[in-house]
Symmetry: C2
Subunit: 232 residues, 2 copies
Amino acid sequence: MDNEEQLPEKSMPNISVDNLIFAMQDGQLKVLLVKYKQGLAANKWGLIGHWVHQDESLDDAASRVISATTGVENFHLDQLGAFGKVDRYPGRRIITVVYYALVRFDEANIHQGENTHEVAWFNVHDVPELIFDHKDILNKCLGQLKYKVRHEPIGFSLLPEKFTLLQLQEIYEAILDKKLDKPNFRRKIQKMNLLINCKEKQTAVAHRAATLYRFDVHVYEKLKEFGFNFEY
Amino acid sequence: MDNEEQLPEKSMPNISVDNLIFAMQDGQLKVLLVKYKQGLAANKWGLIGHWVHQDESLDDAASRVISATTGVENFHLDQLGAFGKVDRYPGRRIITVVYYALVRFDEANIHQGENTHEVAWFNVHDVPELIFDHKDILNKCLGQLKYKVRHEPIGFSLLPEKFTLLQLQEIYEAILDKKLDKPNFRRKIQKMNLLINCKEKQTAVAHRAATLYRFDVHVYEKLKEFGFNFEY
DNA sequence: GCAAAAGTGTTCCGTTTACACCCATGG
DNA sequence: CCATGGGTGTAAACGGAACACTTTTGC
């Protein structure tokens, strides 16, 4: 979180929410960070944090700021957990509940917050120094993403409406941080019956145009419910 | 949590920790519940909750009460997450951070807490009515356990030093809530190189005595770190 | 001998993995 | 005609699922 001076009356003391917002850009997994204006975190990069209003749930608090920062209304949201070491926040005892969101890069219109004077995407493996325990939080979240992407079809939340199989593969490669075999990846994904062929092709590419796909939302919902397995 | 009258000076306002303690008894997965003496939860069953001291981390707070209640010092501890609906606690805004622990049944010596007048083990599928959102929390935790037991060797935390393969299988069956094939289970577990043959047999059983095994702690640590796969 | 659980063997079949290979397009 | 990525084929290895079968022990 940014600073204590700004704690509004209607917010809970001692509790903050911090958010990790992820998107894919140029085949790389990016995370959105902000530079705070004032307070303990002034001029330093950190996760997008804020206080929790007395009359909103933790989930709602996270959604509120993610929407405000990115302009995106629909995104995958998950709770990473609560972080509560005694000295994690300087001078005061603050528990933070961390959420991570997956957004489509092209849908995001980054808005400056009141307490920040910079917002930027960073490659998850190349971030600046972060305030408090935010680096630990990022690392834990990257681990959680690896874990999750293999058992729930969350990777798709990072793609535009229509996408190619290579784009999808790049997401898995970025999150799992390893190269995957193209033929095997294609077959595996296709067999899930999750993709619908748009019967369209890429245009203006300097190689054979790839087929565009979109999701079968019904199958997608079922896989989310019952889980699936993606062991690479 | 129990009641607000008891909030000690040194505790954080607005935040509680609730714990689910699991153990295996007679081939059944049990969870430890308490009946509170006073406050909003008086005479009702609930998870073992408490306030967080200003000078202890969330993890430490959970460990403290789990040890105090069960007398056990070594147990598997994981955070389930934070629960923060606005109306989850009557009359006041309380965020609770939930932990679950796996203990060995025979090591547990249940101690009554100051605020409780009953503590008892319940089959996880047969619990009484619970206070607040504790039933939701239990359900979410059972789902998490299913998820986890297939990817990390946590099931072993529920067993005594020396155990038979059937005891281990019963844990998986209880958590996954399904019958497993004995020959296949045995082979699968054996191939992990996680078990050391104690070269001892069961005694006083009315059938062929089973071999006793114990864990190879080194392999166990590695599997915890790198994850494993147990898809049944 | 019978019940109960220990423990082994084997077959079938789908999935994973690795890698060779051809296709289409723009420069 | 070549670089780039799209896309298909295939064979070997592995692992899961199902189930028949033998062994040991106490009563």
